[in-house]
């Protein structure tokens, strides 16, 4: 292949090396026209992910690790040669020549040759089964070698060494790590952190030998090798992996007179140019400010800077943060900035937990205001926050140690809002918070889109959690403004609508929507307003003005089941029921052939009632002295109870009477969501009151009140609100608490979520309810009294009204039944027939057998 001279006007850019950094450079430059890029790689495959190299042994293939494909490069118009090791540079002629003799001319040459593993000059280092851990070819050799042995040793206890040890462990070898220094990961960790890491890794089955200098490697007695150490001890092994650091691949520069550092590395300036202006060096072969960066993120920055300089841009490389977070054999390790507290006057906070093997250290400036560095072993959950403190110089809270202490109390959280737009979120790809905001502004509405727009998290992936937090925060900022409006018909939240209804004494939805909203309303705002109107005025919910506002459950005063039938639940306060009532329930269930089940709320549910059967069923129940259980409403459901001191040997209060009193008092209260209570007669808590919205537990001296528990989708233990209350105070507190919830909660927000989102939380609630902090307690109590006083059994009102009963029919023009409702028997009761069963019986209705008629 000869020099590409297809286009005279295009500059020839030759890139030597196709590691992660070389590839990143190609990606950067190929976005611009006017460049003819040629990649020369000594390896037999295009760029792959070396950061996740060890995953090759846990199932990933070379293809999985690949960062690009030949097709991709062809698409980008990038020429490439594999197995093309460059052996000569002619700076005067501006050409490079490969081992096989091919010559390529360049306008700009980019050296991205990377590094090689340093192998200490130990006699015996070149024996068979002495390998390094650097490339996929190395991995293949390691795998082959491991197949023949049982024991493996990694020489070097740094970051890469431990990754290599993990690889050996994955291959099933009895694995050892031999480290010259007294501790592991000496660059990133302090002594205590290193020791803890050693303990953790040893507990995972890897033996760690520190302070061992290897003198010689000779034939072993039981294994292939015997390593003899300076202290006289020895270790036998079948395989030795050297991972004692890296050395820059700078031989080309050395041979062809580019300036090198004293200990190697191609010297570059802030534009990543070498001593020859037309030759750049980037990544691990480059020496900037007398430093070689062995991480991928700074290499990417260099690639970007070099590409920018070639196209005439002004990016500069100004060093890079070497903070690291990774998982080594499942052990989380993080290191930030000045981990060794070398800054003058630096102060340290440490937290060590030997039981759980967790070690955390913060290095703080003398004035205690800025975070200089940190070490985290065993738990890196604070890494992202700490890194942001360190990188952005954010002032630390008054007691900074709270940032790393286990969260016994409130942990100061670093709100992502306090991050400046310049804060780097993804350091691999150098994506800032500002970039993420720009992506959201440009229309991204999910994290996936942000990832593909900004490339954030596509490097090491360590920033995924932080990216999500930042993104969610931005979504919330934008979404919240929209979400506060209950729907498109009102530009108000539920709480605001509540205040409007109350302040302006608005009595109907029509009045509210005509004065303060628009349109007909919808399935969101109509039930919400119905609930507000009910909480304030407690009208009969099937009044003509309210009827159309309710979901079907409230409109038909039953819980609709999947086949369109309803369930029937009479109230059974505290779960108490007389035999006579129980008999009536049984008779009704039998007569109408209803499926019968005891509920979790200590009452009985009758399923399978057709809409036209509901009035007759309820008439029977009401005549027997029962009333609606509001199982269909966003309202008080049940007050669960144990029998308490009346029967139980352990009960200390009459929980049964209290439960019945509470259920009678709050029944029919319409609220933002359903409300469940429970009362337990002693501390054994048989009624499970702590999982309820309102939980009451008897004490020797009265009642303990728990609030905002939940047992459903997101279980939450109730918070202890007040202790040893007398009956009157208990009721007063519950009145106020519930009415405050009714006023201020969002639609369909349970008391648990409501309290969690309430600014000030439980303490604030206590101030409002106990101390009348807002001066509204009289009003809250009066409003509750009004609701209690206007209670009516909705079913009784309905069965007494022939007009309302007209709604309870399937067809306005026929007495036929809905043929789609079909039951089959199971365990001696009915259940809805499945679609298959209906089809088998030929009952499935063909629904669209009438030609659609065009509207006039």
């Amino acid at each position: 292949m000869s020099t590409s001279d297809l286009s005279q006007s295009k500059q020839n850019i030759v890139v030597v090396g196709n590691g992660m950094v070389g590839h990143h450079f190609v990606e950067q430059l190929s976005q611009f026209d006017g460049y003819n890029i040629t990649v020369l790689s000594a390896e037999s495959r295009l760029a792959y992910d070396r950061v996740h190299l060890s995953e090759y042994f846990s199932g990933k293939t070379a293809d999985d690790l690949a960062l690009t494909t030949p097709e991709n490069y062809q698409q980008l118009g990038v020429n490439f040669e594999l197995d093309a090791k460059v052996t000569q540079i002619d700076k005067a002629a501006k050409t490079v020549t490969t081992e096989s003799g091919d010559t390529f001319s360049y306008d700009k040459l980019v050296l991205a040759t990377g590094s090689y593993a340093f192998v200490p000059p130990i006699p015996g280092k070149d024996r068979e089964h002495c390998l390094v851990y650097r490339t996929i070819d190395d991995l293949d050799a390691i795998q082959a070698s491991a197949n023949t042995g049982k024991v493996g040793v990694v020489v070097g206890g740094g970051l890469l060494g431990l990754e290599a040890a993990n690889a050996l462990k994955e291959l099933g070898l009895d694995t050892h790590v031999v480290e010259f220094a007294p501790q592991l990961m000496g660059v990133q960790l302090d002594q205590a952190g290193g020791l803890l890491l050693k303990n953790k890794i040893e507990s995972l089955g890897v033996t760690v030998h520190t302070e061992k200098a290897t003198n010689v490697i000779v034939d072993g007695d039981d294994c292939v090798h015997k390593m003899e150490f300076a202290d006289g001890s020895h270790l036998e092994t079948d395989l030795i992996l050297f991972s004692a650091g890296i050395r820059p691949y700078d031989n080309l520069a050395r041979e062809f007179d580019l300036t090198l550092g004293e200990r190697g590395g191609i010297v570059v300036n802030n534009q990543c140019q070498t001593s020859d202006d037309d030759i750049y060096a980037i990544g691990e072969c480059a020496l900037w400010n007398n430093f070689i960066y062995g991480l991928v993120a700074p290499g990417y920055s260099m690639a970007k800077v070099a590409a920018s300089h070639i196209i005439g841009g002004e990016d500069k490389f100004t060093g890079a943060d070497m903070s690291t977070k990774l998982k080594l054999m499942g052990v989380e390790v993080g290191s930030i900035g000045d981990a060794h507290a070398k800054t003058a006057g630096a102060q340290c906070y440490t937290y060590q937990n030997d039981r759980d093997n967790v070690y955390k250290k913060m290095v703080v400036s003398q004035d205690g205001k800025t975070l200089l560095g940190a070490v985290l072993v065993g738990d890196t959950s604070e890494y992202d926050a700490l890194l942001q403190y360190a990188l952005n110089g954010i002032e630390l809270p008054e007691n900074p140690d709270a940032l790393i202490l286990p969260s016994s109390g409130e942990k100061p959280t670093l709100g992502v809002d306090s991050l400046p737009d310049t804060a780097t979120i993804c350091s691999c790809l150098n994506v800032t918070k500002g970039d993420i905001i720009a992506a959201v502004d440009a229309g991204a509405t999910d994290v996936g889109t942000i990832k593909s727009d900004t490339k954030a998290t596509t490097g090491c992936g360590g920033c995924a959690a932080l990216l999500k937090t930042v993104a969610d925060n931005e979504f919330a900022k934008r979404g919240l403004e929209v979400k506060k409006d209950i729907c498109s018909h009102f530009v108000y939240s539920r709480t605001e609508l509540f205040h409007i209804v109350k302040a302006e004494k608005i009595k109907t939805f029509d009045e509210l929507v005509s004065k303060h909203g628009k349109g007909m309303g919808c399935e969101i705002c109509k039930p919400a307003v119905a609930s507000i109107l009910a909480s304030v005025y407690n009208d009969y919910i099937l009044e003509d003005d309210h009827l159309h506002l309710q979901d079907t459950n409230d409109t038909y005063l039953g819980n609709m089941q999947k086949d369109g039938t309803y369930s029937v639940v009479p109230r059974m306060p505290g779960g108490e029921v007389t035999p006579d009532k129980l008999i009536v329930i049984g008779e009704v269930a039998k007569e109408y052939n209803l499926y019968t089940k005891v509920t979790g709320g200590q009452r009985i549910d009758l399923f399978g009632a057709r809409v036209e059967q509901l009035p007759a069923i309820w008439k029977r129940l009401i005549d027997a002295g029962m009333e609606t259980g509001h199982a269909y409403g966003k309202s008080l459901r049940t007050v669960k109870s144990c029998v308490g001191s009346t029967w139980c040997r352990y009960g200390v209060q009459d929980s049964m009477s209290m439960a019945i009193f509470l259920e009678e008092r709050y029944k029919g209260l319409r609220s933002p969501h359903k409300i469940k209570f429970a009362v337990s007669g002693c501390t054994r808590e048989c009624a499970e009151a702590q999982s309820k919205d309102i939980g009451v537990i008897a004490t020797e001296n009265g009642w303990n009140l728990y609030v905002s528990g939940n047992g459903g989708m997101k279980p939450r233990h109730g918070d202890l609100f007040a202790t040893d209350l007398d009956d009157a105070t208990l009721i007063k507190y519950i009145d106020r608490y519930l009415m405050f919830y009714v006023r201020t909660a969002d639609r369909l927000q349970r008391t648990s979520v409501w309290l969690e989102n309430l600014e000030g939380g439980l303490e604030y609630m206590q101030k409002v309810v106990k101390d009348d902090h807002l001066g509204i307690n009289d009003e809250l109590e009066n409003q509750m009294d009004a609701v209690v006083a206007t209670y009516q059994c909705e079913w009784k009102t309905t069965v007494d009204s022939p007009e309302k009963l007209k709604r309870f029919r399937q067809f306005v023009n026929s007495d036929k039944q809905d043929v789609n409702i079909q039951f089959v028997d199971e365990r001696e009761q009915i259940r809805p027939a499945t679609l298959t069963e209906k089809a088998e019986q030929g009952l499935l209705i063909d629904t669209v057998n009438i030609t659609e008629v065009e509207p006039a």
């Binding site: 498109s488 018909h489 349109g519 007909m520 309303g521 919808c522 399935e523 705002c525 109509k526 039930p527 003509d544 009827l547 159309h548 506002l549 309710q550 979901d551 079907t552 459950n553 409109t555 038909y556 609709m560 999947k562 086949d563 369109g564 809409v611 007209k806 709604r807 399937q810 067809f811 306005v812 023009n813 026929s814 036929k816 809905d818 789609n820 409702i821 679609l835 209705i845 629904t847 669209v848 057998n849 009438i850 659609e852 008629v853 065009e854 509207p855 006039a856």
Partner: protein, 125 residues
């Protein structure tokens, strides 16, 4: 009511279907902003909604998402002026004018031309 329905049905069988209006119920049977269900040709379930004081819209009563005859028991509302009913089962919204489902393109219901003539609610068949 039944007699009237029957007589209308018999008419429809003898003349052109597209020009026939079948009376299903009286306007008094309807509830403003709400739905009722009627049988068309004594077998086809349709849901009739009174969307304001004078106008009714009719769709098939079968909920293709929930697979039950329940649409007449849904809440009605508007989405930027498009009048819909939200299924009482899983809340899919169906346009009362076009029959399309606003939440799932693959679903739709049948619509019927509807008028109120001298207190009678009629659907064109």
């Amino acid at each position: 009511m039944m007699t009237e329905l029957n007589s209308t049905s018999s008419t429809s069988s003898t003349s052109s279907k597209s020009s026939n209006w079948q009376t299903l119920c009286q306007k008094d049977d309807l509830v403003k902003y709400s739905g009722v269900c009627a049988l068309l040709n004594d077998e086809q379930q349709v849901a009739i909604f009174l969307i304001d004081d004078d106008n009714a819209l009719t769709i098939s009563n079968w909920d293709p998402a929930g697979k039950a005859n329940v649409l007449y028991r849904g809440l009605i509302g508007d989405d930027n002026g498009e009048v819909f009913v939200a299924s009482p089962l899983y809340k899919e919204r169906f346009s009362l004018t076009s029959g399309r489902c606003l939440d799932d393109d693959s679903l739709s219901v049948t619509t019927y031309q509807t008028r109120i003539e001298q207190g009678q609610v009629q659907v064109r068949v």
